[in-house]
């Protein structure tokens, strides 16, 4: 496969005595959707927060286009073009779509907001993502459906020419038709050459759009595989036990971990 745009090696992160990430390695490729799956408490959120610069990792290396980089705050991540779309969408209901897309990064001219430029760029971005479901770009976000809100949140992550987009459970609260819409949008992001990391509990979504799937099990990557090479059952096994009996896929060793797992779940 091509050169990964983001490569994590031996990432370790602990909160006091609780070690959450115990040497995670992950490769994210441009133009591909990498699904990150794992049970609750497996460390998905912690891994993502580190990549977003919100909670820096304790140790391990992050390579961005083969250069080792540090991610100590959100600004550094944004500067590299890493954007996160959080599960609770973080939109302001009382502002319209354009305002939300540019929130915190308004375009100004002579100290004044440049509404025209923002509106034009917003229209272009939504058009590039083939979003046709919003009636007016000047309508308040409160009037949008769940799928449309997710669309706005995703559009906000790409409007600044980002390279890597991390989506945290983008379809969690959506109906069938809206899920379909959002997944298509996610696919289009990848088709435009962005690297997409898709965190999901929903294996249907993963098998529908993802190119590869990484299974996180108790702070370690149980496996990183091409989606076409695995079955749903194998992924479920990997999520729940960290190994798959049928194919011995990169087993994650230690037995104490599995004991912990039975105790906590």
């Amino acid at each position: 496969m091509a050169q990964p745009i983001v490569e994590l090696t031996d990432i370790v992160k602990s909160f006091g005595p609780v070690s959450v990430l115990k040497g995670v390695s992950l490769k994210v490729y441009p133009g591909k959707i990498t699904a990150l799956v794992g049970d609750n408490g497996a460390g998905k959120s912690t891994l993502i927060k580190g990549l977003a610069g919100v909670q820096p990792y304790d140790s391990g290396t992050v390579r961005f286009e083969n250069n080792v980089v540090t991610l100590h705050n959100p600004r550094e991540a944004t500067a590299l073009g890493i954007e996160v779309v959080y599960q609770d969408l973080a939109l302001c209901d009382n502002l319209d779509i354009v305002h939300n897309l540019f929130l915190g990064r308004e375009v100004t001219k002579n100290g004044q907001l440049d509404e025209d430029t923002m509106e034009r760029r917003a229209t272009e971005t939504l058009a590039a993502l083939s979003v046709r479901t919003v009636k007016s770009i000047r309508q308040h976000v409160a009037s949008l459906s769940g799928g449309q809100r997710q669309t706005v949140a995703i559009a906000r992550s790409v409007i600044w020419n980002s390279r890597v987009v991390i989506l945290d459970e983008p379809t969690a609260a959506l109906g069938v038709a809206q899920t379909e819409q959002v997944l298509k949008l996610v696919r289009r992001l990848a088709d435009q050459g962005l690297a997409v990391v898709l965190i999901s509990h929903n294996l249907n979504d993963v098998f529908e759009v993802a190119d590869q799937v990484s299974v996180l099990y108790l702070g370690k990557i149980a496996a990183q595989l091409a989606v076409k090479d695995v079955t749903r059952n194998q992924v479920v096994e990997l999520i729940t036990s960290g190994r798959s009996g049928a194919q011995d896929l990169a087993p994650v060793g230690d037995t104490s971990a599995s004991n912990e797992e039975t105790a906590t779940s």
Binding site: P74, R75, T78, Y86, D88, L89, A90, L91, C92, D93, N94, L95, H99, L103, G104, R105, E106, T108, G111, Q112, L113, D116, E119, R120, T123, A127, R132, T133, K135, S136, I137, R138, H140, A142, S143, L144, S145, Q148
Partner: protein, 413 residues
């Protein structure tokens, strides 16, 4: 909802009216309650007191009475937009005015230095309140309640028990007592109407040249005409001789304080609607967490809003002092704050944050001023005035809450 329409609706007069009706029915009532209650109240008082309520003298009197409350309400709009409250705005006005009075009258400072001291006092009070709210996270209700009590004491200390500090400076007295020459009133009218029309046309042309949806020329003309007629009528009315003995002293022209209100309206509206800071204020009021994640310094925005609020309260204090010719322990006390909050809310600023305009303070302030003024002319005792004002405020807050609920269900927040 899923129609494939990126092409936007036309923006003629009819379309604008239709979309306005749609928005209102959807719960976005905006300034409608204030405008309606202004019309209703004015009609009622005109019927009850045809000669005294409608005469030009009373109209200018009403503006003088309402000016201070309007300015304090403008400051409160910034605080209310965050979803916070400033209960101490009234005494901030009183205390700041007292500082001005003391340095002006007792220490002989020039008037401009005194005014600066007054506004600085307001800014310092706002900084303290803002820091406590934004840094320590104490609810603004509690912080400003404490400030309400504390500043009452400071005011009493500055003025002295039962004492007053007189204001003798002509310029300060003129601000909220004197009128502009009649010609200046008409120049102001022309500047406001012309400025509005030119800016609207320029905006429409610019947007069209950028390929964006723009207001139709007919709509701009219609809006400008309505504005011209309304303000023209007011200016004409204020240009009538209102003195009982015109030979002795002539009283006519637009009150100078109107200019102060207009300048504040334009400057503050610009800040709220055309700058990044203003956008951030709305964002923090709408969803503070979203604003934080978008990289907005939420604490700084809150702090600045409290500073703006208290500084404007200080300016309101100057207007009260100018009107009363003095500062007493009652300056900015009692009902001033409640009237100001009432003005902002009646004008359409939400108590829940994220929604409001500076213009709301003027519209709501006029409603309040009409009530106080009209009740006074009816010789109603204070008890009735308080009850009616309280009722109107309650109605306004109910309209706010109900329209918000309606808006939430129709998505028109």
């Amino acid at each position: 909802m899923s129609a494939t329409t990126h092409d936007l609706p036309e923006q003629g007069v009819a379309a604008a009216v239709r979309s306005y009706i749609g928005r209102t029915r959807g719960g976005d009532v905006g300034a409608l309650p204030a405008v309606l209650s202004l019309i209703v109240l004015a009609a009622v008082f005109t019927v009850l007191r045809p000669s005294t309520f409608t005469n030009a003298f009373n109209f200018s009197n009403l503006l003088h009475q309402g000016a201070a409350v309007i300015v304090i309400a403008m400051g409160l709009v910034f605080v209310l937009l965050l979803g916070e409250i400033d209960l101490s705005a009234g005494f901030t006005a009183g205390t700041s005015a007292a500082v001005m009075g003391v340095v002006l009258t007792n220490h002989g400072w020039p008037w401009y230095a005194s005014v600066l001291a007054c506004i600085l006092t307001g800014a310092v009070i706002g900084t303290c309140i803002g820091a406590l709210v934004a840094r320590l996270g104490i609810p603004s209700f509690v912080v400003t309640l404490a400030a309400f009590l504390g500043l009452q004491g400071v005011l009493l200390k500055l003025v002295g028990e039962g004492g007053t500090v007189p204001i003798r400076n002509d310029i300060l007295l003129a601000i909220n007592n004197d009128n502009m020459p009649v010609w200046a009133g008409w120049v102001l009218w022309a500047v406001v109407v012309g400025g509005f029309a030119v800016l609207s046309v320029r905006r429409a042309i610019r947007r069209r040249s950028h390929g964006l949806q723009a207001e139709d020329l007919s709509l701009v003309v219609a809006k400008s005409l309505v504005l011209a007629v309304l303000l023209g009528a007011a200016t004409y009315f204020l240009s009538i001789e209102r003195s009982r003995n015109p030979e002795v002293s002539s009283i006519k022209g637009v009150p100078q304080v109107v200019l102060v209100l207009l300048v504040l309206l334009v400057v503050l509206s610009f800040v709220l609607s055309r700058t990044s800071f203003g956008r951030h204020v709305y964002a923090v009021g709408g969803n503070a967490e979203a604003a934080r994640r978008a990289g907005i310094n939420v604490r700084r925005v809150k702090l600045i809003c409290f500073v703006i609020g208290s500084s404007l309260a200080a300016i309101g204090g100057i207007l009260i002092a100018s009107r009363n010719n003095s500062i007493s322990p009652n300056t900015g006390a009692a009902d001033t704050l409640l009237y100001a909050v009432g003005a902002a809310v009646i004008g359409g600023t939400s108590l829940f944050g994220g929604k409001g305009r500076v213009l709301d303070a003027i519209l709501g302030g006029l409603v309040i001023a009409v009530i106080i003024n009209g009740m006074g002319l009816l010789n109603k005792p204070s008890s009735t005035v308080y009850m009616v004002t309280g009722f109107v405020l309650l109605v306004a807050a109910s309209v706010d809450a109900l329209s918000r609920r309606r808006a939430a269900s129709t998505g028109n927040v």
